[in-house]
């Protein structure tokens, strides 16, 4: 994002990187909210244009800074700009293990809890040292996570008492009893590897007295490790699972996007009217009461049927703040089909396949279309494109099979009959070929199909049929150059053929 500024605070004779380092050092020494510190005004002029710089730039710059400055800068950029938030939160997670945990906790106190959770919540799923460190930092800041994410986090946490103690502090106190109950139930079905950790965690949760926060062990990195590195260590960032996978969903929830506590069970309504109301109604005729009841029921029905009539209807339902949970499915506003997360993943593969198909990289394209179809077996487009790829790479038999399957999935699928006609023509099977051309032409009415169809009829010497086909085209194609030429040639051919 452009700040709209062209001013640069750089002084003559110094490089922008040197200026950046000096300002960062000065800024880190100041106190208070990072965005309110005096140096921030100058620093942001240098820092913000760089936020979209290639990853390699940051991967070189950040390790060369003192870790406290790097953490402050990455968290501030993440807070300042939502579009780069995810990338900079990951970088913050890479930097945090390079400093003493208590120092990192002090720095993170300067930032809103939701931002810290967005960065270090997903890191709970990372292997040591990042996972236990994230648990310590969140516990130190008093941040809690959704109980539904505990099983995933427990799986990633080493079965030692200190990390589990810290993890126990992330359980919301008001849901402690429910968590213990859930985990006890899942203990019965736990496998051998995860059982000891689960038992230990349950014991910690049940114990009424909590020990002090256990600071994770930290060792100062060796001097050679402090040098700039091309890439941050793999363990220094939260794992990046495939979108839509359970791990990715857990990460998304842990980042604070779906931290929703289950609603308390609704209190049971007795259904008994207050005695006072019954006393009032006792003097009224039963039929009158039924009539009033009918009207009372009808009025909301009439109102309901007319709500949403006017696009200018007043705003009655403000958007709830905690709706950050994706629904199970959506309805496509255009095709009305149900869109699930699986369909979106399949469509994603399909769209990538289209790019490879256009570039004539049929092998890659075929692989992506097959992936799409395996995710969503009803994806007709993917099935059709598989046929296209096979045809273009010379596998006519496979292509014919794929196209037939696509037609079984959608009978009026355009172009499938066209490919089947071409395959039949290549196999010298002329009757099926003409039948497919005929069906395709009936389906689409495309002039290019008509020309190809007429060309095959001419090749077979069936001139009257070809002439009838082209003559029967809609009037808008009457002056089409190719149609006129082919018609003239067909009439000449027909004359030569006739005695």
């Amino acid at each position: 994002m452009s700040t709209g500024s062209t001013r640069s605070p750089g002084t003559a004779g110094s490089s922008p990187t040197q200026d950046l380092r000096k300002l960062l050092a000065a800024w880190a020494d100041e106190a208070g909210d990072p965005l309110q510190r005096p140096t921030w005004a100058d620093l942001q002029l240098l820092l913000l244009p760089l936020k979209g710089a290639p990853s390699a730039f940051w991967d070189t710059l950040l390790p060369s800074l003192p870790p406290s400055q790097a953490l402050l800068a990455t968290m501030t950029l993440a807070r300042f700009d939502a579009t780069v938030r995810a990338a900079f939160l990951k970088r913050a997670c890479s930097v945090a293990p390079l400093m003493p945990p208590s120092q990192a906790a002090v720095l993170l106190k300067l930032f809103p809890h939701d931002l810290v959770l967005a960065g270090f919540g997903p890191a709970l799923l990372a292997p040591p040292p990042l996972g236990p460190l994230a648990a310590y930092l969140l516990a130190r800041l008093g941040i809690t996570i959704s109980p539904g994410d505990l099983p995933a986090v427990l799986t990633a946490t080493p079965p030692a008492s200190a990390p589990l103690e810290n993890l126990a502090r992330l359980v919301p106190p008001d849901q402690l009893a429910a968590v213990i109950e859930d985990l006890t139930a899942s203990l019965a079905s736990a496998s051998g590897a995860s059982r000891p950790a689960l038992e230990m965690f349950l014991n910690i949760l049940r114990s009424e007295r909590r020990s002090e926060l256990a600071e994770p062990a930290w060792a100062r990195p060796a001097p050679d490790q402090e040098q700039p590195q091309a890439r941050p260590p793999a363990s220094g960032a939260p794992p990046t699972p495939r979108p839509g996978s359970p791990l990715a969903q857990a990460q998304a929830r842990l980042s604070g996007m779906a931290v929703e506590t289950p609603a308390p069970a609704a209190t049971k309504v007795s259904g008994i009217l207050p005695q006072g109301l019954l006393d009032l109604a006792s003097g009224i005729d039963r039929h009158v009461l039924i009539g009033i009841g009918a009207i009372v029921i009808s009025i909301p029905l009439v109102l309901l049927s007319t709500t949403g009539v006017s696009p200018d209807a007043p705003v009655a339902t403000p958007m709830p703040r905690k709706v950050d949970k994706a629904p199970k499915y959506w309805t496509d506003a255009v095709s009305k089909r149900r869109i699930t997360h699986e369909f979106l993943a399949a469509d994603n593969d399909f769209q990538m396949g289209e790019m490879f198909l256009v570039r004539q990289e049929y092998g890659e394209a075929l692989s992506l279309f097959r992936d799409a179809l395996s995710r969503d077996p009803e994806h007709v487009g993917a099935q059709f494109r598989i046929g296209c790829c096979l045809f273009l790479s010379g596998d006519r038999q496979g292509a014919a099979k794929a196209m037939t399957t696509a037609l079984e999935m959608q009978q009026d699928l355009p172009e499938a009959h066209l490919y089947l006609a071409r395959i039949a023509a290549a196999n010298d099977e002329w009757e099926p070929c003409l039948a497919h051309y005929q069906k395709e032409f009936e389906l689409t009415g495309e002039i290019l199909v008509a020309l190809e169809y007429a060309g095959v009829l001419r090749k077979l010497g069936r001139f009257p049929e070809a002439i009838a086909l082209l003559s029967g085209l809609p009037p808008r194609f009457a002056g089409h150059l190719e149609v006129v030429n082919l018609l003239a040639q067909l009439r000449d051919d027909a004359k030569e053929q006739s005695p």
């Binding site: 979209g52 938030r85 979108p243 007319t306 949403g308 496509d332 506003a333 979106l344």
Partner: protein, 160 residues
């Protein structure tokens, strides 16, 4: 002559019949109104998707990043490349308008009412020739009549 007045029961029955007769008429208006509403919301969604698409093509390649589902709200959303600020008719950042209750109340109210959100699904594609692209799925979601609706548009961002 002994004339009877209209009893309360008769009034109630008459009102009931009137309501029953009015329901189909009002439903007719209701369905026409809903069709207008659907068309309006879909129009907004298409507009949003194309706005994002245009901005994606003008952004640095590396800064095209994923916005996971359920996505960012368009109203009251954070500063981003696409909707906040939504316009700036001035020459400085002070004139930038954001989709907030204070700055664009009508648009804000509309977008909040239907909970318009956007998400980006980004995939990096490396070709055999060595060049690369990003295949970006732009997902616009909103709520309408108790349903979660979605409009999707794919765009391809080359690394130029």
């Amino acid at each position: 002559m002994n004339r009877r007045a209209v009893s309360f029961v008769e009034i109630v029955i008459a009102l009931g019949i009137l309501i029953v007769c009015m329901v189909p008429v009002l439903t007719m208006f209701g369905s026409a109104g809903r069709a207008v509403l659907k068309s309006q919301n879909l129009g907004f969604a298409i507009g949003f998707a194309h706005r994002i698409s245009q901005h994606l093509l003008a952004m640095p390649f590396e800064s095209v990043t994923e916005v996971p589902l359920p996505g960012q709200p368009v109203a009251d959303g954070p500063d981003d490349e696409f909707f906040n600020p939504v316009s700036n008719f001035g020459t400085t950042g002070a004139n930038a308008l954001r989709i907030t209750k204070a700055q664009t109340p009508d648009l804000w109210a509309f977008l909040r009412k239907y909970e318009f959100r956007y998400a980006l699904i980004v995939n990096n594609v490396n070709f055999a020739a060595g060049d690369r692209m990003k295949c970006v799925g732009i997902i616009i979601t909103w709520k309408e009549g108790g349903k979660d609706l979605l409009y999707k548009l794919y765009t391809y961002v080359p690394d130029i």
